[in-house]
């Protein structure tokens, strides 16, 4: 099994992607709703990722 060294951002990005796909698939009832919810979850994850990143950066200045 190859070893990968991901950065915080890369790991969190992958986590967001996989989790959003599953949440989109299992939560809603039509394909359109699933797609929209999956994208919404992914966007929310990224927003939180960047938001918390900036918060930590500014908090440590």
């Amino acid at each position: 099994m190859p070893k990968v060294n991901l950065s915080h951002f890369e790991a969190a990005f992958l986590f967001s992607l996989f989790t959003s796909v599953v949440l989109g698939v299992v939560t809603k009832r039509t394909d359109r709703e699933r797609l929209i919810y999956g994208l919404y979850c992914f966007g929310s994850f990224l927003l939180a990722l960047f938001g918390l990143g900036w918060l930590m950066y500014l908090g440590h200045r």
């Binding site: 099994m1 070893k3 992958l14 986590f15 996989f18 796909v21 599953v22 949440l23 698939v25 299992v26």
Partner: protein
Amino acid sequence: MAKQKKLKEPMPPLNVWGPAVGVGWLVPGGGHFLLKRYGRAALLLASVTGMFLFGLMMRGTLFKPKVADLLTTLIYCGGFIGNLASGLLYFLTVWLGYAQPDVPGLVHDYGTKFLVAAGLLNVLAMVDAYEIAAGRKS
């Protein structure tokens, strides 16, 4: 009133949902595949397996149940259940001799979380397969 009605909804017999949930546990997306939801099955398989494989490639730790103080018990037993929920992915990994010790480092730490999260996502997939098999969802 509506809530009361929902609570009284009878549980379908085991032979209706058991195979879908059982296969869904062993193979991520397997329950959906059994219920002929091929697209969703493929997405679940790719996501859960992808999460698990990245966890392994980041050299995450697989939990073993340990009973000590409350927090330790919660973390180790909960982590073990999360790992176990990945089904065959977990068993194959253990049978093939993967035994990564718990070492400090952000990549290892992310890997451990990925391995547990893969199992938890598979639990969501199993619940969805149950609802489809029980006729509560299409």
